[in-house]
Amino acid sequence: MTGGPGNAIELRGIVKRFGSLTAVAGLDLSVPSGVCLGLLGPNGAGKSTTMRMLTGQTLATEGSITLLGHALPAQSKQARMAMGVVPQLDNLDVELTCRQILSIFARLYRVPRSEREAAVTRALGIANLGARADTVVRDLSGGMRRRLLVARALIHRPRLVLLDEPTVGLDPQVRQELWTLIAGLRADGVTVLMSTHYIEEAERLADTVAVMSAGQIIAQGTPAELVRAHAGREVIEVYGPPAELTALTAEASRRGWSHRRSGPALAILNAERLDGDAPAGVRRPANLEDAFVALTGEEIE
């Protein structure tokens, strides 16, 4: 994806060092307006550092960041005015009610006094927390708290929303609820940058996926483009005793077949290119997980 005036987010040559540790190592990323981009990478890839740089809470050592046309860090505040942030870690005031929290953030985001009550009601509706408006956060379930975090980020109807691992640690049902909420944002044309280490999350929600590893974007495209480019059309999964799989792994390496361990099986990628040489196994379409492992060499959830 190339940079351009229609991009909500532009990162060019971003480097972030913490002492001798380089967390982000030459990151280039463009997110066009209205697109949901999934930043997919294993833990430690630099996703959260990138997110913090976008909120102005971490300063890039090198490179340039432009958000909604505002250059960071000088115009970070202007950018944050039109941006909502859902953090990875819950930072709600547990002693306050949902309504109080949303009212406070409506003020922080400069929602005019005459519109604050409506904004709070709308945000409570988005998060389906209308019935719990006057419940203190301490008494909310984990899923409700996550939804409140999303509502808090949307109180001022932002043009850009940053979601940092939005469903990490949530049970499947709550994750589905959050996904529905995020899908609603996409439908309304809000630009979304979502960091995640869940393949399924990126695959379901993101128009474009950028794979991040060791502080860099190593591939970017639609999920299907990434799969085609890095895992082919088909995968053969070969099941068998460990010794047999070890021997097959050695042969795959010798013959230059792209392969990976997939649970109890050995998965041979780009199986459609193997013709008659293909080992016997279960054929299935390649997926984003295959492409991700082929790109990063790491298994993630």
Partner: protein
Amino acid sequence: MNLETDPAAGTPPPGDRPPTPEGGDPDTLTRRPPAGHLPGPTHAAVPATVRVGRLEPAAISAVMARDIVMFKRYWRATTFSSVVQPVIYLLAFGLGFGSLVHHVGHFRYVQYVATGVVATAVLFSSAFPGMFNTFVRWRFQRTYDALLAAPIDAEELVTAETLWIAIRSGVYGVAPLVVGFFWGLTPEPAMLLVPFIGLITGFGFANFGVLIAAFAKTIDNFNYVTSAVLTPMFLVAGTFFPITQLPGALRTIAQFNPLYHCVALVRDLSLETFHLSDLLHLGVLVIFALLLWRLATTQMQRRLID
């Protein structure tokens, strides 16, 4: 969830989906959640004319609004701890020592202590919240992460937090005077200025607390500051005895103690012995407050934005 389902308008751009194991439509087969519009208009709740700059009143008042909401939940405990401790000092020293030491200069000892303990009340109700509230909100509750993701900068955050603490300190500082009224302290019109002196002093000490919190590695570090800085500071401020009674070196050091200037100013206002040198006390307090504010905001900026 109460998202309205509107398949025609609400289906997001699907991108180029990967093929699915069953070979069908990937959106259907992966059970993509229904993508509905969110309620209400999409953008622009915030007017385009919002002023963005340094130390915006809107930003500061918004952070203070949060503090006020929090205070409404905790005001009893906060007020109790901020008022009772100085009052105990007043009763112990004023009435206890007062039976032995009847006068300091022209004033009865209880009058002397009641006006001096105002500064103690201000110190306790500003430096401690400055340290502990900042550390807890920053390191444990991650409140500052949440606030800084909104259009608030570290300078505004620290200013709002310490200004709110200072306002509280100004009010709490009056408590020893009110208690003193029951033991013969005479209400004077100039006492109406005491909350403002408390506010200026409290602002300085709140920022002192924030500065300490910015450097502290653990919350236990505050014990050193309490024992080695704050306690000696209020003992050599002229609260319980004139600093002229101190040995030479300590007397000189006491002149640099902002609390001493607060004590002197409050006492002169309350006992109607105001003279020109009190402007010097006021000047020292204002400089102390501004200097600590600058140091605290700069240091917290460095620590919050890495």
